[in-house]
């Protein structure tokens, strides 16, 4: 570590909280010129929040950010730019109907004529040293995604950025585009720039980085400094990262020993899924030939990096998403043609991961949210008329039973913390009549005590003889709870592992695309 290379930006014990979620938990980070600093972590690990704070969109609750060694409050994106911090966001931030030059000139003072000639000279200089070509007078909509990204990087350079943040920049690029971006990053750091490169792809991290920091659930769980980085080969780096990301940590309070449970193997499966297929959408791959069985009392886990079709799988099973093939049987009866409500009637329950987005109606009282999926059903509605006394009586019962901390039954559910909203959902899905329950990321964004409470609920559910499908991106969680773990990758199940001693390694290998 040379003394000459002083940190451009350093984070000291930065913590950021959102209602019910700790997004960053005292994170330290040093960003130096001439280095590609890779921030690695899954969705929800807190990467985006960290960038939000660096680019002035959000303010840390605790800790401080040093710019050139001085504690600085980055108050706005404009301020961040003035400090020399340029960000290329995950989603393109260019105006598609304008030309490249016009996009680059946006944000200039409104009372001046745009200085086109000056820009052209500056762009020519930058592109020459970087060895890229940019068509200044082409419309942005006519450029490929890779070219658009170059324009965004160029924009940051035109504004004299010293630190360039690339947020999931490879997610929309072709393999060739990714290689080109890697080469471009190398040339940029050779010019003395600092780059923060955010990704959840291990191979890119190993190929493009100089230093790697691994984030997990808001905490920084490890760092590989440049000296060590150079000493290790690519395979060694990847396996070290896998260890950091998915490995068991000492003194981890979440680690609970999985009680040995015996599943009556002779029992017929409660849920049978055969060759389920779903068409792809813009943001997720489609599902193809998904098949699995779950027996009564069994807990099947679905592991995988986020965005590999988990949500589609849950929605297709619940009946919210149209399938293009395959069958789903509940206790031997086909249910693939039934509606959401009919499947629920038969005992299929889906606990969504999007608690406020679709799980609840935020402005409605807690009491009504318990019965959102039963509107019109007796005894809470009689002849279509609401029976407020019945609703309140049952809601009070559920609040007590599931330990929902709410000021009153009339409180709008959005005012509760994430953990308590989750309890409302648990109460709604697990109360009478459930046979098969799908949990999608049930502890995502919860604090420790609520995480542990939710997991206990899920274990109890399986212990009651229900079939449980647990979708999670937290491998630790799956290992501590499931009987079997299936790994989903790019919309298909790439393997199923019995949760025995070597399951951790096997699942980890399946997740990064290696054979178990």
């Amino acid at each position: 570590m040379s003394v000459a290379k002083r940190d451009i930006v350093a984070l000291e014990g930065v913590t950021k909280r959102f209602p019910g979620v700790v997004a960053n938990d005292s994170v330290d980070l040093e960003i130096r010129p001439g280095e590609v600093h890779v921030l690695l972590g899954e969705n929800g690990a807190g990467k985006s929040t960290l960038i939000g704070m660096l680019s002035g969109l959000q303010q840390p609750d605790e800790g401080r950010i040093l710019v050139d060694g001085e504690p600085t409050a980055i108050t706005s994106p404009r301020h961040a730019l003035a400090l020399g911090i340029g960000t290329v966001f995950q989603h393109m931030m260019l105006v598609p109907t304008l030309t490249v030059a016009e996009n680059l000139l946006l944000g200039g003072p409104w009372w001046q004529r745009p200085k086109t000639e000056e820009l052209e000279a500056r762009v020519a200089e930058i592109t020459r040293t970087l060895g890229i070509t940019v068509k200044l007078h082409a419309k942005v909509s006519e450029l490929s995604l890779g070219e658009q990204q170059q324009v965004e990087i160029l924009r940051a350079m035109v504004r004299n950025s010293r630190l360039l943040i690339l947020d999931e920049s490879t997610s929309m690029l072709t393999p060739k585009g990714i290689d080109e971006l890697g080469a471009l990053m190398r040339r940029l750091v050779e010019q003395g720039l600092a780059i923060v490169f955010i990704t959840h792809k291990l191979k890119e991290a190993a190929a493009f980085g100089d230093r790697i920091s691994v984030l997990k659930l808001g905490r920084k769980v490890g760092e590989i400094p440049p000296e060590r980085f150079r000493a290790l080969g690519e395979q060694a780096i990847i396996s070290e990262i896998v260890e950091l990301m998915f490995g068991k940590q000492k003194d981890d309070p979440e680690a609970a020993e999985r009680p040995v449970r015996t599943i009556r193997a002779e029992a017929a499966p409660l849920l049978e899924v055969r060759d389920l297929a779903v068409a792809p959408t813009d943001d997720a791959p489609g599902l193809s030939s998904i098949s699995f069985d779950i027996c009564p009392g069994e807990l099947l886990g679905i592991a995988g990096i986020d965005g590999n079709g988990q949500k589609h799988l849950a929605e297709a099973l619940a009946g919210q998403r149209a399938t293009v093939g395959g069958s789903v049987r509940l206790q031997g009866t086909p249910i693939e043609a039934l509606s959401v409500g009919e499947r629920r009637q038969k005992g299929l329950r889906y606990l969504t991961d999007d608690r406020l987005g679709e799980g609840t109606v935020g402005t409605f009282p807690v009491s009504i949210n318990f019965f959102l999926k039963q509107v019109g059903a007796a005894p809470f509605w009689r002849k279509g008329v609401e029976q407020r006394a019945e609703i309140d009586k049952r809601a009070a019962q559920l609040v007590r039973e599931y330990d929902v901390r709410t000021p009153s039954l009339k409180t709008p559910v959005a005012r509760l913390s994430g953990g308590n909203i989750q309890k409302v959902l648990l109460a709604r899905e697990l109360a009478e009549g459930a046979k098969v329950v799908i949990f999608n990321k049930p502890t995502y964004g919860l604090d420790l005590s609520n995480t542990l409470a939710s997991r206990q609920r899920i274990r109890d559910t399986a212990a009651r003889g229900l079939a449980v499908l647990l979708i999670s991106t937290d491998l630790e969680e799956l290992l501590s709870m499931c009987d079997r773990i299936a790994v989903i990758s790019n919309g298909s199940l790439v393997g199923t592992v019995e949760n025995a001693d070597d399951a951790r390694t096997k699942v980890g290998r399946l997740m990064i695309g290696l054979a178990a």
Partner: protein, 365 residues
């Protein structure tokens, strides 16, 4: 907004603080509603001053003619009937998160079909049955008219604000065409429909000129309010309005509910047209368009889509429009000044809401 909403410090009894909080809440609500109205009256007064009219004389005249004179109050209450139906229709749509702005087209088509059918039907059946049939026909026609925006929204996700507005232009023109070409009364030279004899119209209340349509309107809006707040169907619509994704997650048939909302909303607008024709006007003249539908929208917002509050605000709008019509003739202030006044109220109210919100936020921070 300078009311003291600081929490009572050190209050120990929970009930007491709760009671204080509720009273504070009600006081706050009243202030947040009446304050802006007062401010709006002052602003509108300034506009009147600027055009050389004494605002006190204008307001006094509006009050006297719209509220305090026996004839005026009867006219005001009569005017309320169609407005209440329209407000009821808008409450259903807005609470379900669907912006049916096509009220005028639906209203006029309902009015024209009622005006066309009632004089024919009274000749073949008892008057009461003819009235009921005309109401039903008007309602059905308006419902059918809403089908295009409803289907587009339900199955294609096309924004209903645009489609209902476009359909309202078409609807008003179609209504005109129907009056001039199909239902024109051959007995008169003016283009208008056949006139329903006064004795066959909706009965008047007691010895006044108030139409019994008022009672129908009150029944309609109170029913709508109770259905929206107390029934499973109403709750389903409110879920769709508050969080459409939660509605899908909960397994509600959102497309069918969407069509139902449009049908109910348009049906009530059609009934509004029918109640105005069968109770008051007796016929539809060509180019007649009172534009009640647009005037009622701000009223429903002022009432925060609450049926009972809407009754109060509809009454206020009626007083203003009846009084405003008289004042227009006497003081030379254009009729549409009523709408100017209502819109100023709405803007000031929105500003007050914004300031109140900012004030609360900064107090919390």
């Amino acid at each position: 907004m300078s009311i003291d909403t600081a929490p009572a410090a050190g209050a120990t009894a929970l009930d007491a603080t709760a009671a204080v909080a509720t009273r504070r809440d009600i006081q706050h609500r009243l202030l947040m509603t009446l304050g802006p109205i007062l401010a709006a009256l002052i602003i509108a007064g300034c506009i009147l001053l600027a055009v050389g009219v004494d605002p006190l004389a204008y307001y006094g005249f509006v009050l006297k003619r719209g509220l305090l004179s026996p004839l005026g109050i009867q006219q005001t209450l009569t005017r309320m009937a169609p407005l209440l139906f329209l407000a009821a229709g808008l409450i259903v749509a807005f609470r379900a998160g669907m912006w049916n702005l096509g009220g005028d087209g639906q209203f006029l088509l309902g009015a024209v079909t009622a005006a066309a059918s009632a004089p024919v039907l009274v000749e073949v059946m008892p008057a009461w049955l003819a009235l009921i049939c005309s109401f039903v026909i008007a309602m059905l026609v308006a419902m059918i008219w809403s089908l295009v925006p409803a289907l587009l929204r339900a199955y294609q996700g096309v924004n209903e604000i645009i489609t209902t507005l476009m359909m309202t232009f078409l609807g008003t023109s179609l209504a005109n065409v129907l009056v001039k070409l199909m239902f024109r009364d051959p007995g008169t030279t003016v283009p208008q429909t056949r006139t329903l004899p006064v004795e066959d119209r909706l009965p008047r209340l007691f010895d006044t000129t108030i139409t019994s349509g008022l009672l129908l309107g009150l029944v309609a809006i109170i029913t709508v309010h109770l259905v929206m707040t107390r029934t499973a169907f109403g709750l389903k619509l409110r879920i769709v309005g508050a969080n459409p994704r939660a509605a899908i997650h909960a397994g509600l048939g959102v497309p069918k509910l969407t069509i139902a909302v449009f049908a109910i909303s348009a049906g009530l607008a059609g009934l509004a047209g029918a109640v105005d024709i069968l109770g008051v006007q007796g016929n539809v003249r060509a180019d007649w368009n009172p534009a009640y539908g647009l005037a009622v929208i701000p009223v429903v917002f002022l009432a925060r889509m609450n049926g009972f509050a809407a009754i109060g605000f509809v009454f206020l709008l009626s007083v203003l429009s009846i009084g405003g019509e008289s004042a227009a003739r006497r003081l030379g202030v254009p009729n549409h000044f009523t709408l100017v006044l209502v819109s100023i109220v709405l803007i000031v109210l929105a500003l007050a809401e914004y300031i109140d919100h900012r004030y609360n936020q900064s107090r919390k921070a």
